[in-house]
Symmetry: C2
Subunit: 282 residues, 2 copies
């Protein structure tokens, strides 16, 4: 990932942005620019730092830039950006959050959320089909809501969504139950005893000193413990679960499928890996 | 200029844009990205295509992007962009047009116009100090107005500004005379007989079949004939003038000083040319 060189943007270059606050930590520009270069596409992704109070001013401006074709959305804008989407996907409607927008042929903007789809794709790739399973999701934030919606779309039998804010979890459950009648319940304390899969989608685990997001000892022996935290790859939660002999699923698994989903969503024709020197632009 | 490779933008990268309609022809991204790379600055310039009717929506949005530090402005936005400048330079006030904006420490946006300053710097570099001279400027468009203002600032004795639209030339002369009392007059037909320097700032000459913007045969033998058209380097006008034995001044001379002015204006510390491999970012 280090030292990726790309052709300099020129007048003809199509522009993509990733919106966040802060934005210095985002990896999307390097990941997506690698995809553009590898597939010989004259496009570039740049970071766009937007304070929450400025989103209502910035979004209409970005939407009207004629050579801006797509946006990725990160913390804290995934919820508020929905007000600026002309056509929301089912995933966006269900989760109430979006992490990708694209310009359509007619100039309107569609919104999608790949956080949950990427998470489910990662589960499947690792051999953990969630269909028919009892799942507990700990944390109903920007990523959690999308994971909840994608799990239901993937056919989980029952989903317990939790959050320290009962109201937040209840609102999510209500929205999901309107589509997946009665399969979702909300609570502050996670239901652990009968869960087949338990997912941490809280930020707890980013720091080594964070408390565990839930009590691993209360899980049965067949439970899969998943984390969405990517750094560290093996969080304290996953270490504890592994020590107990439970199967674990790392946060990194949700990333690779999303890059491929973004490529498709942004209509980057897949050519395959080739070096910059072979780039058809040159 | 071909095949310039730059480090991929990352989360920390500062963003610069060049606004135009169309924008595919602009050379600014490659020129400025070369400056950023050469001086080891973590910044990138991308093209931004804005239709005139969308400028009032796009500009407030761009101004509120926290990691967007500067803009270059090209046709047709040089006049209308002035409404979005918080602090206009004297050059912008005089010419009524801007071609560069930058974010100040307090978050406000300043505007400057380097078209004329670049032109005058180019004249000086070629040994043609305009101070005290009688100058005729043919064409009062986006570049012409800035050249007129810069020539007065450089101390021309008399300036004849012309345009096919008498009103356009008169408006410009009025604005300039408010500052440079009586040194400017406006006309439709250029005053050629006593001119020391005659400048073409119309688009006539971009195509080989264009008529000459003014009659070279009516100039006296010491007149300098200047063109702001860069392609072709030697326009039909300049060829005719050279054939008549007159000194000529090519459009390209206004470009190099402007790149250096942009570097300073955008506060890119000058380190000097070094290759990407030595870039302090890496």
């Amino acid at each position: 990932m280090e030292n990726l060189l790309i052709p300099s943007p020129q007048g003809t270059t199509r522009v993509f942005v990733v919106l966040g606050d802060p934005v210095a930590q985002v990896k999307a520009p390097e990941l997506m620019n690698r995809v553009f270069v590898a597939n010989g596409v004259d496009a570039v992704m740049v970071p766009v730092h937007v304070h929450p109070c400025e989103l209502p001013t910035v979004m209409p401006g970005l939407k009207q830039i004629a050579n801006l074709d797509g946006m990725l959305i990160t913390i804290p804008h995934k919820f508020d950006v929905c007000a600026h989407i002309d056509t929301a996907s089912e995933m966006v409607s269900l989760s109430g959050a979006a992490n990708a927008l694209r310009r359509e042929i007619d100039g309107s903007w569609s919104g999608e959320n790949f956080d949950g789809l990427g998470f489910v794709a990662g589960l499947m790739q690792q051999g953990h089909d969630p269909a028919g399973k009892i799942v507990t999701l700990v944390g109903s934030g920007g990523a959690g809501v999308a994971i909840a919606a994608a799990l239901l779309q993937a056919g989980v039998q029952r989903l317990n969504v939790t959050d320290l804010s009962k109201e937040k979890a209840s609102r999510l459950a209500q929205r999901l139950n309107a589509r997946y009648n009665g399969r979702v319940d909300a609570s502050v304390t996670p239901q652990l005893q009968d869960a087949d899969i338990v997912i941490n989608s809280t930020p707890m685990g980013l720091r080594e000193t964070d408390p565990l997001p839930f009590d691993v000892d209360r899980l049965h022996n067949e439970t899969l413990v998943a984390d969405i935290i990517m750094k560290p790859a093996q969080t304290r939660l996953l270490k504890h679960a592994a020590q107990r002999g439970l199967r674990v699923h790392q946060g990194i698994h949700m990333l690779a499928p999303q890059i491929e989903m973004y490529r498709e969503y942004f209509r980057v024709p897949f050519v395959g890996e080739h070096s910059v020197g072979e780039n058809p632009r040159y």
